[in-house]
């Protein structure tokens, strides 16, 4: 018999227990939902349009054709419209939205996969535990209007995200949306969803898998190709999703295998492995994938999802490294062995009958991978398999280079491979060592060489001595920022001793190697900015050392306090960075965050001096993370590859009427300085990015102490790195108290002489000149309904 959907009466209840998690009055329940719980695409559109009006989308079409449908391809240049009526702007906006949406889907699908897995293991009622926090899931609460208590509470959250992804994806179909701005609004929506999807993924793994919970003093772990003991069998896990890998670590722990096998991770899985078990080691970010495989050191490779190269199986097979795929996203054409016995699979892989196996039974993955590594290790080591040329071959290869430069053109960063070849042919390897450090390991050069030189292998061989020494330290990902830390830091933010928060995040497609982000982080830390980092950037920061051989993680501690360096964790941990700004609004301003995205974003935009830097961003995920930050009012700076995402959000300070803001106390309008000046912008060089980061920390609500310190660093970094006083410094001066202490007189003189301001020299006071007077009680807002007394 089946129960059908209908009304039925229960006549007798006997020994039935009803568990009620929370009792709320109907009044409260209504309140907690907020103005826009689980917003549809159009619900936050007004907010988006406000942002887009001030920060206009600027497009850089990587391709000016549209080839979506069979009418095309359509040339959209010169204000032409395509066969469906779309124009260049809308098409570029649509492309950007689609890319971002792919990223959103990647994180959210990761979250869904992990949630299913963890619910199966721990049950829906497993409580959320993220450390000392009153707001456990700030993004979820702000967007959904619900306060999740158990991991099962995230089911409707992911349901919502998935539904919205479908709705957004549908808009990309030919025809339909014709407005570039509306596509941007949709991209912003996708970005917001992405942050929540990441939050779900990280909170559930932190809660269920015992990862550090808002812990400031997590241990340091080894990182780098040189930190892996290759005399042992090496088991390498690549990807982002801990679900299957957790079983491997459990098995190794149970069977005391951590001293018999080197367990190493590549990409974000590596971060999460160390968060789960600190015996795991980190090889490095995505840029090391191909290089490390080709070294021949891994004896078994396990892949899960996201930033995993599409050629892992192909490359690994050449070197007899079996590959275990564990996730729907990457199957490489392998046969599904989930129902087979572990012993049989091992046999097939050792014998080389099969190059890899697809395995969805994680108990089996857990057992198979270490056992396979133990067997493959000795076999492969005996065979001495590597893709790298020997000394003689290396000489031959480098000498055969004709200096045609095709590889240089093929290289995403235009590295001088030809010069290194020439030098190496003459016995000088220093250029290869430098090159290796800057090379992002994409392998495109291999395909460009007319002589068929396996260039990447040559680079690696040329830098082998260097690679063996490549060892660093990373502090294990800490998870969220706990409330007590934020409260403590609040004082520094208010008193201006912390000039801002810089999030160095994203991928390793750096224009000139990872040393740049190390230098940026160091400069910012010395200037007492809080530097938070995650993912590949967090790894690369740990690869560089000072004169005393110390990494930044060893020099700066991990508390959310001025001048500290915090590794938040993996890619999905990025959610905690944006969530921290929400916590600030809740903690210091007592804002009700429930389903209240617009108000919170308005608060963040006007008050919190946080900036994201994705210097080597390459992925769709990085794009959507950035766009999600933008919707929440956090500006983002990209490296020189940024324009390939096709769109920037640039403020135009000279359009003064775009910078009008209301005072929430009385609705009066004030024209304010352009702060923050941009929402999404690319910088070309490290020198350019330093002052830019300082400048993007300005906010309209800065008090004098805050503005003075921010302006000090903006001016100093501009002078230090660009050799000039920035041409717009004076725009940010509201009173003499905003001026850098050490340069006060000098700058007052400039204001008088170059900008015609009136100065009272006796009192060293500015009498006339600034756009507005400073008023710490000014409550800037862009949202009319937030003005006191406004009717909704």
């Amino acid at each position: 018999m089946s129960i059908k959907k209908n009304r039925f009466t229960i006549e007798n209840l006997e020994n039935v227990q009803i568990n009620i998690g929370r009792v709320v009055s109907s009044h409260e329940a209504k309140e907690s939902e907020g103005p826009t719980p689980a917003p549809e695409i159009h619900d936050l559109r007004d907010w988006d349009m406000k942002l887009l009006e001030r920060y206009e989308p600027v497009y850089s079409p990587v391709c000016d054709m549209c080839c979506y449908c069979t009418y095309g391809k359509c040339d959209l240049t010169g204000n032409k419209e395509g066969a469906c009526g779309i124009d260049m702007e809308a098409h570029q906006a649509r492309e950007t939205m689609l890319k971002g949406l792919t990223g959103t889907a990647a994180h959210s699908a990761h979250g869904r996969h992990l949630l299913n897995n963890l619910i199966e293991r721990f049950g829906e009622d497993f409580p959320i535990d993220v450390g000392p926090s009153n707001l456990k899931a700030p993004l979820t609460q702000t967007i959904m209007g619900i306060k999740p208590e158990t991991i099962g509470d995230f089911i409707p959250v992911l349901d919502y995200i998935e539904e919205q992804i479908t709705q957004l994806l549908a808009t990309a179909h030919t025809g339909q949306e014709g407005s570039a701005l509306d596509f941007e609004s949709k991209a912003l929506h996708a970005g917001m969803l992405d942050h929540m999807g990441m939050e779900v993924a990280d909170i559930i793994q932190v809660s269920c898998l015992g990862m550090p919970k808002s812990q400031e003093d997590t241990p340091l772990v080894d990182i780098g190709m040189g930190s892996i003991d290759s005399t042992k069998p090496v088991l390498l896990c690549i990807g982002h999703n801990i679900a299957a890998v957790a079983y491997i670590m459990d098995y190794m722990e149970e069977h005391d295998l951590f001293d018999k096998i080197e367990l190493a991770g590549l990409c974000c899985t590596a971060h999460d492995m160390t968060r789960y078990n600190e015996n795991a080691k980190i090889v490095g970010p995505m840029s090391k994938q191909l290089k490390y495989i080709r070294s021949g050191i891994p004896d078994v490779i396990v892949v899960d999802e996201q930033c995993v190269r599409a050629d892992v199986l192909r490359e690994a097979s050449k070197l007899h490294i079996p590959v275990i795929a564990t996730n729907d996203k990457i199957m490489y054409g392998l046969s599904n062995r989930s129902k087979d016995e572990v012993d049989d699979i091992i046999q097939d892989l050792i014998s080389g009958d099969q190059q890899g196996a697809l395995l969805f039974d994680y108990e089996k993955v857990g057992e198979l991978a270490p056992r396979l590594a133990l067997k493959m290790g000795p076999i492969r080591k005996e065979m001495g398999i590597t893709a790298l040329p020997d000394d003689e071959e290396f000489k031959k290869l480098t000498s055969s280079c004709s200096q045609c430069g095709a590889c240089v053109i093929g290289c995403p960063n235009g590295l001088d491979i030809d010069k290194a070849m020439e030098a190496a042919a003459g016995g000088d390897l220093t250029l290869f060592e430098e090159l290796h450090d800057k090379c992002n390991g994409c392998g495109r050069c291999d395909f460009e060489c007319p002589k068929g030189i396996p260039i990447l292998n040559v680079i690696e061989k040329g830098a082998l001595k260097f690679i063996r020494e490549e060892k660093g330290k990373v502090r294990i990902g800490r998870g969220q920022i706990g409330d007590p830390e934020i409260r403590e830091e609040g004082r520094n933010l208010v008193l201006g001793t912390t000039p801002g928060i810089i999030a160095i995040v994203g991928c390793p497609n750096y224009p000139d190697g990872s040393h740049d982000i190390y230098e940026i982080a160091e400069e910012m830390l010395q200037r007492s900015y809080i530097v938070v980092t995650s993912g590949c950037s967090a790894m690369d920061l740990g690869m560089h050392k000072d004169d005393e051989g110390k990494t930044l993680y060893e020099r700066y501690s991990g508390r959310f306090i001025k001048g500290n360096l915090l590794n938040i964790g993996s890619c999905v941990s990025n959610a905690h960075i944006s969530a921290t700004t929400i916590k600030v609004a809740a903690i210091f301003a007592g804002r009700d965050i429930n389903g209240n995205f617009e108000e919170i974003a308005d608060y963040v935009l006007n008050r919190i001096g946080a900036v994201g830097l994705a210097w080597g961003a390459y992925s769709q995920k990085a794009l959507t993370i950035g766009t999600g930050c933008n919707r929440l009012g956090i500006p983002v700076v990209l490296g020189p590859h940024g324009p390939k995402y096709r769109r920037a959000y640039l403020g135009k300070p000279y359009n003064k009427d775009k910078w009008n803001m209301m005072d929430a106390r009385d609705g009066s309008v004030q024209n304010v300085e352009p702060a923050p000046e941009h929402m999404l912008i690319s910088a070309e060089t490290k020198a350019e990015v330093m002052p830019m980061l300082a400048k993007l920390c300005f906010r309209p609500s800065d008090n004098n102490l805050g503005r003075m310190i921010k302006l000090t660093h903006y001016i100093e970094m501009s002078e230090k790195y660009l050799g000039v006083l920035p041409d717009d410094w004076y725009i940010y001066v509201r009173s003499e108290a905003d001026l850098p202490l050490a340069k006060k007189e000098q700058l007052l003189k400039k204001l008088e002489e170059e900008h015609g301001w009136k100065i009272d020299w006796d009192k060293k006071k500015i009498l006339e000149g600034p756009t507005r007077k400073v008023d710490v009680s000014f409550q800037p807002t862009n949202v009319p309904r937030l003005v006191k007394g406004a009717t909704e």
Partner: protein, 469 residues
């Protein structure tokens, strides 16, 4: 002008450490002698920008050597007064750390300074350069200083001589700070710095009440208000005293009304329950009412565990902050425990029942001796029952409140029998019971109650279906 110095001056050098190997010379410090002192003097007594050195200059010092150093600044100006000396003096530490290659630790007679070799190589050769830079920064930041001059001493004998005088000065200052109370001044200070993040927060700073962030005391407020009377720290005329014990003043109420945008119009600065001070967000300690014992517990940011009421700092702080007046919770700075007027409207220390051990240790000397052993910590009580027992055993004055209130039950409330402890009715005047909604257990009504189950999970082992007739 910044360019006249052979070193850079920037807050970026604040965290700079000068290690032994990089050190050119060490001044003062634990193995030598020295101090820093600011004296307020008459405007005609000094010459602006003058520098005097007694003893050897840097260029005459041996590399790697250690020397005594006294730094005496004399300041003058229409608004300069003795009460501001300490505030100015404390900035010497910040400003000298701004100088690249110079490390300044501690304050007063504990100062410890190192200059690194790089700074010397770049052209630093005289204390005059350091003193001029420091004086420039003093004048730029603290604009009430119209004239300033400096005397640095590196001659041991002379340092000794001046140190003795300085010690008297420090002692006199401390005495003044200790003995200065709310009733001794006409002016309090308001601070709205927090409004850049907490728009409705208003901090009132009085001699007996430090700002709740712990960073700004009455003297700081006074100095800042002199620099810029319209700035974020400003004078608040006390006005008429409405409640001496609770600390209610007409001047404060007017400011509260104005700065909170009308959110509230009364603040009693030494009251926990009635019109308490607003709590922004960066308070160091949160106080919480424990209705079961009619007492107040305190928990600080660094305490990770739960208080006896089962709540952690973060969850209680979550209900306290946001620049709001929250009854039943109060955020304070640690120094407020040292105030003689500490929550005096509510019984002061006699009302305090619990605090984490490390917090208690920090302020141990300031807790009245008759109560110090009666305040429980997590080592004594982790839940309410244990807390009650502890308080009873130790004879905490709060216990008397229980019995006295037991004898006088409120007229319109029937006395309820309790089998364990006879609970006192909470005796709080003008208290909105709604404020306690998070503290008192919900009581279920009977009859006419509509229950709505939302997202409820009902686990049923077996469902028996029978057809309706």
């Amino acid at each position: 002008m910044a360019d006249e110095f052979p070193f850079e001056i920037s807050p970026m050098f604040e965290g700079e450490r000068v290690r032994k190997d990089d050190m050119y010379v060490e001044l003062a410090g634990p193995k030598s002698k020295g101090f820093e002192l600011v004296n307020a003097v008459g405007i005609d007594e000094i010459e602006d920008g003058k520098f005097t050195l007694i003893g050897a200059d840097i260029s005459e010092m041996e590399e790697g050597g250690r020397y005594p150093l006294a730094m005496i600044y004399r300041i003058a100006g229409e608004l300069v007064e003795t009460d501001l000396e300490a505030i100015v003096e404390r900035r010497n530490h910040d400003f000298q750390n701004y100088i690249q290659g110079m490390m300044h630790l501690n304050q007063r007679y504990d100062v410890w300074i190192r200059i690194n070799k790089d700074a010397i190589a770049k052209g630093l050769k005289s204390f005059e350069q350091i003193a001029k830079a420091t004086m420039m920064l003093f004048k730029n930041e603290l604009t009430f200083i119209e004239k300033i001059e400096a005397t640095y001493i590196t001659d041991m004998e002379k340092v000794d001589e001046e140190l003795a005088k300085a010690m008297d000065k420090y002692a006199a200052r401390d005495e003044r700070t200790r003995n200065l109370h709310d009733e001794d001044v006409d002016t309090f200070y308001g601070c709205s710095l927090c409004q850049s993040f907490a728009p409705t927060s208003v901090c009132v700073i009085t001699p007996d009440r430090i700002a709740l962030c712990g960073a700004i005391n009455w003297f700081d407020g006074r100095a800042a208000a002199k620099v810029d009377p319209e700035g974020p720290q400003f004078a608040v005329e006390k006005g008429e005293c409405l409640d001496e014990t609770g600390g209610e003043y007409t001047g404060i109420n007017e400011v509260a009304q104005k700065l909170s945008g009308g959110e509230y119009n009364r603040i009693k600065i030494h009251s926990f329950f009635e019109f308490p001070h607003t709590s922004c967000g960066c308070f160091e300690v949160v106080g919480f009412f424990v209705p079961e014992v009619d007492g107040i517990g305190w928990v600080d940011r660094d305490y990770a565990g739960n208080a006896p009421n089962g709540l952690a700092f973060s969850s209680m702080a979550g209900q306290t902050g946001g620049g709001k007046q929250v009854m039943g919770f109060l955020g304070v700075g640690i120094n407020y425990f040292r105030s003689p007027k500490f929550i005096q409207a509510d019984g002061g220390w006699d009302r305090v029942v619990w605090m984490p051990k490390h917090l208690k240790d920090k302020i141990l000397e300031d807790i009245p001796s008759d109560i110090v052993d009666k305040v429980a910590t997590e080592e004594d009580a982790q839940d309410i029952t244990a807390l009650k027992t502890f308080l009873t055993d130790k004879g905490h004055p709060i216990v008397e409140r229980w019995s006295s209130e037991e004898e006088e039950p409120a007229e319109d409330e029937p006395i309820t029998e309790s089998d364990a402890f006879s609970m006192p009715q909470v005796g709080i005047p003008a208290f909105d019971p709604a404020m306690l909604k998070n503290l008192t257990p919900m009581t279920g009504g009977c009859g006419g109650v509509k229950v709505t189950l939302k997202n409820a999970k009902v686990t049923i082992d077996k469902v028996i279906l029978s057809n309706q007739k």
